[in-house]
């Protein structure tokens, strides 16, 4: 093998490695974004849950604020969060099942159910503690429906 052939081979290899690295870091970033998004849900739900359980005193204004936040978070499109190669086993930290990429219509149905549930929560959260408790149920069910179908066990 002469020098120029070696150079070409090294260049091709370098591009291939770089390409994989770019794809890898895109998947990494997406997994981080997904988890951050979920963290925002969790923080606001935690504040609401503490009031629903009676761990902190119910406050209509605070409850409404956090419920409205959930509506805003749910309205953020997650469409770009799921690049190819970011399923469980393909990238560190991901628990997304491959079925997520092949069930578009069902995923959209479940997203719509979540939007409906948080809208219901937003309408009820400011009324009283009982209203808040009742409205949290459908939100939990909507979150669970997607995780049941598309998230692997740890």
């Amino acid at each position: 093998m002469n020098n120029s052939k070696i150079r070409i081979a090294v260049a091709v290899l370098a591009i291939a490695v770089a390409g994989t690295a770019v794809a890898q870091s895109a998947a990494d970033g997406a997994v981080k974004a997904r988890k951050s998004h979920m963290q925002l849900y969790a923080f606001n739900l935690d504040q609401l849950g503490a009031m629903a359980k009676g761990e902190v005193e119910y406050n209509a204004e605070t409850a409404s604020t956090h419920a409205d936040n959930l509506v805003a978070i749910a309205s953020v499109s997650m469409a770009g969060y799921w690049p190819e190669g970011s399923a469980q086993g393909e990238v560190e930290g991901s628990r997304a099942l491959p079925a997520l990429w092949t069930s578009g219509e069902d995923v959209m149905t479940k997203v719509a159910a979540l939007n409906e549930a948080v809208a219901g929560l937003s309408a009820a959260a400011g009324s009283d503690q009982a209203g808040l408790q009742t409205a949290l149920g459908p939100v939990g069910e909507a979150c669970g429906a997607c995780h049941k179908a598309y998230r692997a066990p740890e």
Partner: protein, 296 residues
Amino acid sequence: MRRFLALILMLGLFGGVAFWFLTGPSRLPAETFAGLSGDAAAGEAVFWAGGCASCHSAEAAEGDARLVLSGGRRFPSDFGTFLAPNITPDPDQGIGSWSLADFGNAVMRGVSPAGAHYYPAFPYTTYAKAEPQDIADLWAYMQALPADPTPSLAHEVGFPFSIRRSVGGWKLLFFSNDYVLENAATPEIERGRYLAEALGHCGECHTPRGILGQLQTDRWLTGAPNPTGRGNIPNITPAELDWSDLDLISYFKTGFTPEFDVAGGHMAEVVQNLARLPDSDLAAITAYLRAVPAAE
């Protein structure tokens, strides 16, 4: 020599006859359901507490589709893969032609109307502790659910477990009507024990299994590998369950953990059932979980 051979033959014959009798179906006493009439409204609560829909509805069924118990879900195990059958009121493919006694023997003894053993993937070993009135109510409720003509699929189980009579031997060894938590100190714990050990069958996933698939009751609810092959089902005895009562009840109702993650996998199915039970029942299950022995 001929007498010896004859003796061996006799012993073999005797053993075979003994095996045949010992492993035969053991049905409920005929009078178990005498005079009972089912109340479908009460049966709905039994239905959710028993978790019937979690296994018998079609894969990925949600909403009202969870009331169509057409079967087909797959349950992998060390012994093969079990497929949930159709238990809708369809007279041909489902159980529409059964009597209450047929249903009771299936649910509480694991015996089909024709006298065959069911595999214990169907948790009749726990339903055996149910009150006959609850089973009569459940039967009334289930007869009013939608019928579906989907045929049941055969289990994918290899030899020797493919011989149903072997299940008779398994029952001889492991079928017990005794509660694991022997003493229920309060009526609330007693109710919780009924919900957790008789109807809800928590132990089927949360208790480790022995070499023949039997639950290791001396390690009750101490957690086990996930039968789907990935991850572990957690220990829910007081040794590791450090959630508050409020956290537990909230989890049963919404699926939210104290960190506001949500239940996934089969537990998400369980929460969909528990969410339909009254708060008093959820508090009773919580009290029961506080009362079971703490163990690693």
